[in-house]
Amino acid sequence: MILSIRGCEARPLSAAMVAARAFIGVSVVTLEYFNTGWICILGGFVLALPLALMIDLPGKGRFMAGTRLRKPAWALVFALAIYECTVLTRLILKSTLYCGLDQLQPLGTTLVTLAFCGLMAVKNGRGLGNGARIWGIVFLVLFSLVVLSQVENFQFYWLFPILGPGVRSLARGCLETAGALAGAMTPLLFREDETGGKHCALRSLSAGCAVATALCLYEALMSPSLAMGSASQISVLDALLANGRASLALMLPIVVLWFTGVFATLNGYGFTGAAALQGMTGLDGRVCVWGAMGLILILTLTEISSRKWFHIVEMGEYLLAICATVLLRIGKRRASP
């Protein structure tokens, strides 16, 4: 079984991944950008544009036929996808409270999560693409509901000081976001046809960034940045999903959006990791999927902190994705002169 995804399925999947991953990167995992995450996303979008255009260059065939650097390149993509999956699975564990599953053992939750992720990957892109497409449709409805119900609590002055932590930090934030966006576009490297239409990557990137910016602005308008050292990942999640101004029942739409978005991203990275493993080893798709899931399970449950590597990995991801795409293009040209 060869792991692949159709262009029309890769596009919504990548868009959902771009949206969720960019938002998580600037808002939940990194706390130092205060309420300027939306600027980082817009900056990251500009930086990721060349990559999107490169992915969109016409050419058929699967990935990187005939290049010597194939295996090391896919090994890096595999490592990054597994790392991202670990971060996301841990994030799901941290947010189980909002769906009443905080009493479950982490092992149980992780097993179910990864089993779901694996099943989606084994379906070879169909499940992933359709799931992400539904997320896109549901997002518009649910997010509109959330905004309408909370608009009276919006405080526009919380967007100020407009440059938050300063230009240098924001520049780093833009680069990191570009890395996150680049990583979230990797499923497009596996698309087996051009059914995603023209400018597939560009459209995914634009739609995903628009959604992530809207989410970031929503969060910034609902809660001020806690600049007095009280902020934590948990407090940011609480501010986003429980907020404290409305009953938890009213916050259900945003909780649903959160979980569906994080799951779509996890599934996308799970698939990318498994496909990269297959590209590297040539093993059967099912073996690669469950092998990757096993590795993610082990890493999630270990005590190794993924957070201290986060910034380096995000910035490295940008460069890596550009290199991988360049190699892919060279490979394609050689493969189909």
């Binding site: 599953l101 007095m228 407090s235 404290g244």
Partner: protein
Amino acid sequence: MKRAAALAMALVFTAALTGCSEVGYLEHQAYAIIIGIDREAEETVLTVKFPQMTGASGEKSGSDSYVTTESRGINFRQAMETLKLGIPRKLNLSATVLIVVSRKIAESGEIREITQFLISDHRLYSAAYFAVCQGDARSFVEAQEPSTGMRLSEGLKAMVKNGENQGIIPQSRLADVYYLMNSVYSDPLVMLCALKDEEGTVREPGDNLPRDVPVSYTGDNQYTGACALKDGKAAIYLTGLETIYANLLLGNASEFTCAMGERAAYVTLRRKPKIRVRREKDGAKVEIEMRFTGYDVAGELSAYELAEHLRGRMLELIGRCQAAGVEPLGFADQAAKGSATVEDWKKFNWAEQFPRAEIDLQVTVTKTAF
């Protein structure tokens, strides 16, 4: 074969979702509706009101449907631990509607620790209200009874909402107090409460309503006025009337009856106040522009008189805040726009600038025949 495998997996997942965890039965939970926090000698005392739950009907109305429990500890954290040990069920704060701290606690600066603990350890983001009680919180919590035919929690919510709409109390949710106390903007304003006959109560209905309007409350517990916190410590107390003016400046209230001796007019804020903070060589200058519509039944008050009255009262309030070195009026939110970065804003040091800032308040009243 495939179908059998899919069915087996579905069964396994379903089991994992429901059967591996203890079900949170309603009867197993002790839902705290009101939490009162006092300081007595060297101890923190918690007085907590729980509903008597039944699996079928949940929280019931009627004063006999609630039990009050007390716990003590050397600090709030310890008192909470004692409470957990003392009650026969699992303490659950997800339905908490009101947290009341005594004036002594508010003045000791313990509010920061209390809110931090509730938000970070208990993740209490259930839209609970936060109040400072003029006397001791224990008597206040014990005296809080449900209105006839209403659940205590719903009655409380309705009462607070009504007070917010009238402007006599500020918007004072725990999350808001926590956010403002830990962010770089204005200081938080917390609602004040008191028992009816208690000395030092802040209830002044005759002050802000025409004398001929009868005012009566059904319960002993009054919610009127506000307390401004500076670094987690009570800095000044505002009366109900001052709170209305504070809410007008914040843009949270829009209409009230303004009394001037025997005369009164119904005043409506036409749009949110325009506030601009200028940075000048010798300090900051706060420019405020407010436009009201005034309706005077008897036709005894001129627009100018009304405007001057409102202006005078609001300048008095701002002056009190400046003297106390606390800024709960939302000026910092506007002033922060003048800084590019958080670091610049901190360097500007609003806490130092505000007490000596020049205030330019323009009030315009347009009289209407209704």
